[in-house]
């Protein structure tokens, strides 16, 4: 991106830091840190550095990921234990020191944002009547004088996080501010509930529980375990997704060139599905159907036309037993059926053909026309679309949806070799990425989603990634 938008980003970051400085000065004046705050501050700083040093556990599907980090818990605990100033220190320092390579603008922005979040949390706690946890005892008092104000501080931090992040997205990506705020609150709201609960546990054992710094040590253990389990989960998911790619790679060895075709069909299916406003679950099934629609061709050898005619059914048999592929099987088995009844293998008509199959058929035909063959030149997308519109075997609603999608997305280019080398590159890109919203539990969203492993795609890209280095 241009130098201009980079300058805009810096201007915004400086604005964020101005807020940090003003609120920080207020904090020092009205709630000056005392010597008693030193121990909690040191312990939480240590915990913050740990949270920032461990790589986030990433659970990702197709490049979209959910991350697990417990930094939010640390800033909230600090805001409650040490006050606004302590919250800011714990938010800023570990973020600045984070041992991850990232661009300066992003590091400074993240630090500033967590500074504001810490300060706002600390003030919210005090304004809601929160008291120094070390002076509280008795269950009723613990819940009223620590618990409730802590919830208020938690909500304030969630809102601050959403507003500051949406701000940078608006100035760098020019997307309407409130759209972002709503999206962020929806995707991170559950995470902040988790932060609140765990920060409360830490504070309760520290103050009313009287075990002081050892509380931070104990609370960290289940968190580290959760972080580790999520890492395992993410790795297994990654392994699984990659293995699905292996199916496509096997077909490409048999019939070179099919990997790129499969990948393009999968993407076209995504586009059409989005245009038709399908549910996330249906989109996932459709993507699988697009990617694996030609698996049956693995059984086809040169000069065996009947095998080619049977390939939709052979594909279904090959994929039977893979639970994530099961919902996609009807679409795979019927992707050569035509709405006018001229297709194969069963000659189904109109609505008897599953929607997924009609979509794959359109995507398949579009890709064939725009890619061309050794004998036929490739068509321009416009011409291909008008040819599809004239084809009575294709569902005209789906063709219209494709036309809208092509208008929006432009031309799609994925070749087989490109796709086959994608695996490792994608992995690296993902490992380097870091989300300011690193949320311990967008996880809650993951866990709430159904059993389908592919249905919880949550976008977590950072707006500053889109700027040029």
């Amino acid at each position: 991106m241009s130098r201009e938008s980079s300058a805009t980003a810096w201007t915004y970051v400086i604005g964020v830091w101005a807020v940090v400085i003003v609120l920080g000065a207020l904090a020092v004046v009205y709630e000056p840190p005392s010597r008693a705050d030193l121990l909690p501050l040191a312990a939480l700083l240590l915990l913050g550095v740990l949270a920032r040093t461990l790589p986030d556990s990433v659970v990702s599907m197709s490049g979209d990921g959910v991350r697990f980090s417990f930094f939010g818990i640390v800033t909230l605990s600090a805001a409650v234990m040490v006050g606004p100033f302590g919250g800011a220190v714990v938010g800023v320092l570990p973020t600045l020191l984070q041992p991850v390579r990232m661009r300066a603008v992003r590091r400074v922005f993240n630090a500033g944002m967590f500074g504001v979040v810490g300060l706002v949390g600390g003030f919210a706690y005090l304004l809601a009547g929160g008291v120094d946890p070390l002076t509280v005892s008795g269950t009723g008092s613990v819940l009223l004088d620590i618990g409730l104000p802590l919830i208020v501080a938690d909500l304030a931090q969630a809102a601050t996080n959403a507003l500051v992040l949406s701000g940078i997205m608006t100035v760098t990506a020019r997307v309407p501010f409130w759209v972002h705020v709503r999206g962020l609150i929806a995707s991170t709201g559950a995470a902040y509930i988790g932060y609140g609960v765990i920060a409360f546990l830490l504070v309760v054992l520290w103050g009313p529980g009287q075990i002081h710094w050892f509380s931070a040590a104990l609370t960290t253990v289940p968190l580290l375990v959760a972080w580790w389990v999520f890492g395992q989960f993410g790795a297994e998911l990654e392994a699984h997704e990659r293995t699905t790619d292996t199916l496509v790679a096997a077909l490409d060895v048999r019939h070179p060139g099919t990997a790129g075709h499969s990948q393009r069909i999968a993407i076209l299916c995504d586009w059409i599905g989005e245009s038709l406003r399908l549910s996330p679950r249906a989109l996932t099934e459709l993507h699988t159907a697009g990617l694996l629609h030609d698996m049956g061709l693995l059984a086809a050898r040169r000069g065996t036309d009947d095998e080619i005619l049977r390939h939709p059914e052979t594909g279904v048999r090959m994929l039977a037993g893979i639970s994530f592929a099961a919902p996609a099987l009807p679409a795979i088995g019927a992707h050569h059926e035509r709405v006018d009844g001229s297709g194969y293998p069963r000659g189904l008509m109109g609505p008897d053909i599953p929607l997924g199959a009609r979509i794959v058929a359109v995507a398949d035909a579009f890709d064939a026309l725009t890619s061309g063959t050794p004998d036929v030149a490739a068509l321009d997308p416009r011409d291909a679309l008008s040819q599809l519109a004239a084809d009575r075997g294709l569902d005209s609603n789906v063709v219209d949806a494709l036309a809208r999608a092509v208008d929006r997305h432009g031309v799609l280019e994925v070749s087989s070799t490109e796709w086959l080398s994608r695996a490792r590159v994608g992995e690296r890109a993902r490992a380097e990425g870091e989300s300011a919203r690193s949320s311990m539990a967008t996880i809650a969203a993951v866990l709430a989603a159904g059993r389908s492993t592919k249905s919880w795609i949550i976008r977590h890209d950072h707006p500053l990634d889109r700027l040029a280095p």
């Binding site: 075990i211 292996t246 790679a249 096997a250 693995l298 052979t314 639970s323």
Partner: protein
């Protein structure tokens, strides 16, 4: 709040926690919440002069056993499969934690609730007790598993710790936090402090589910060559089952067995690149150069995934004859030798377990003994597929 009410709440948490069961590695599971509640129960037993600590611990363990049985019955009635080894482990956990807590009390360490922060020493002692109890649990469970599955003790301990160690650690720590929260939040403690554990359990369940679908995908990959007409039906599955059996006899760890299984399942994948199938899909009958090519194509496909690398590395050596190891001192991994042998056996029998076919196959393998195949593995194979033949020719 009385000690009695507190113990009753923990008792109920054991009962309910049993249903939050995590089944990992396909076979065994663990109920981390029930474990945490059981340890918290044992750590909360009141120490009174005049009452023998041992009697107290025995009574506590009895209560934990009853709670576990009730919890198991409820879980099973609700259709949740639990695991009896886990209950055995929990009782071990309870005994050791209870005894150590009594020991802590005898040394005079106690909860003071003084604001001087010195209570961390008491907290630390409880935590050590819970961790020791968790270690004892792993030792006993591994002993039981190694006995019932006839496997080496050390590899079973390693596997137990690798699979359940982290969840046990979280469980032990949660137990201590519950006990320490008692004075501050009372009965809220057992609910609030199990929440982080719930998170881990949910993630672990997801992990187990994903692992299952991952295995399904590999199984589907292994069937591709069957359905495309290159190999005989279920050849790869039979080779994998036999290979895993031989691997188990050699004391491979779970991770090594997984790799062996995946490699065995996918060893013929490279045949999809052939334009004409080999008769019967039997690579053992193919020319060595063709065998190598099939291997290379299969390995190439697997390497696209980037995650099947260990299995792919094994497969690069699957066609290597044993003599290279003997004569030229090359290292051929045990797993690769196992796959070579079990693949040959299944190709020779065509999948039949008919005694006639088995003995013909074994004879043909004997011809290549020491040259093509590892003699010790061949002995194991005979033990598995024709135990009586082995008795006749000792």
């Amino acid at each position: 709040m009385t000690t009695m009410a507190w113990l009753v709440v923990l008792f109920l948490l054991i009962v309910v926690g049993e249903s939050a069961h995590v089944r990992l590695a396909g076979r065994r599971g663990i109920s981390p919440i029930a474990s945490a509640a059981a340890v918290a129960f044992m750590l909360s037993l009141p120490h009174r002069p005049g009452v023998s600590g041992v009697v107290l611990v025995l009574g506590g363990v009895l209560a934990v056993a009853v709670a576990s049985l009730v919890g198991t019955a409820i879980a099973e009635a609700a259709g949740i499969r639990t695991s009896s080894v886990d209950v055995l482990g929990r009782l071990t956990n309870a005994v050791v934690a209870g005894l150590l807590a009594q020991l802590v009390a005898v040394t005079g360490l106690e909860r003071t609730m003084e604001p001087d922060g010195r209570d961390w020493i008491y907290a630390f002692a409880l935590w050590l007790s819970a961790l020791t109890a968790a270690a004892a649990r792993a030792a006993v469970v591994a002993w039981w598993v190694s006995r019932s599955e006839r496997r080496g003790y050390v590899s079973t301990v390693r596997e137990e710790v690798a699979t359940f160690g982290m969840l046990s650690l979280a469980s032990a720590t949660t137990a201590v936090m519950i006990v320490l929260s008692r004075e501050a939040v009372g009965l809220w403690g057992p609910i609030l402090f199990t929440l982080p554990l719930v998170l881990s359990i949910a993630a672990a369940r997801r992990y187990a589910h994903t692992r299952q679908t991952y295995r399904e995908t590999i199984a589907a990959l292994s069937r591709l060559t069957d359905l495309a007409g290159y190999t005989t039906s279920h050849h790869a599955r039979r080779v994998a089952d036999l290979a895993v059996e031989l691997g188990r006899r050699r004391g491979l760890s779970q991770r090594e067995m997984d790799t062996l299984e995946y490699a065995a399942l996918l060893h013929d994948l490279g045949q999809v690149a052939l334009d004409q199938p080999i008769p019967g899909g039997a690579t053992v009958l193919a020319a060595p150069r063709d065998q190598e090519r099939i291997v290379q194509d299969g390995v190439g496909i697997m390497r696209h995934s980037g995650v099947l690398e260990p299995a792919a590395a094994l497969l690069t050596r699957q066609a290597a004859p044993y003599r290279l190891m003997r004569e030229e001192d090359e290292r051929i991994p045990l797993e690769a030798r196992i796959i070579k042998l079990t693949n040959a056996f299944d190709d020779f029998t065509g999948g039949s377990r008919d005694p006639g076919a088995v003995s013909v196959a074994l004879e043909r393998i004997q011809l290549g003994l020491g040259y093509e195949y590892d003699p010790e593995l061949v002995d194991d194979l005979i033990d598995v597929v024709a135990p009586r033949a082995r008795q006749r020719h000792p």
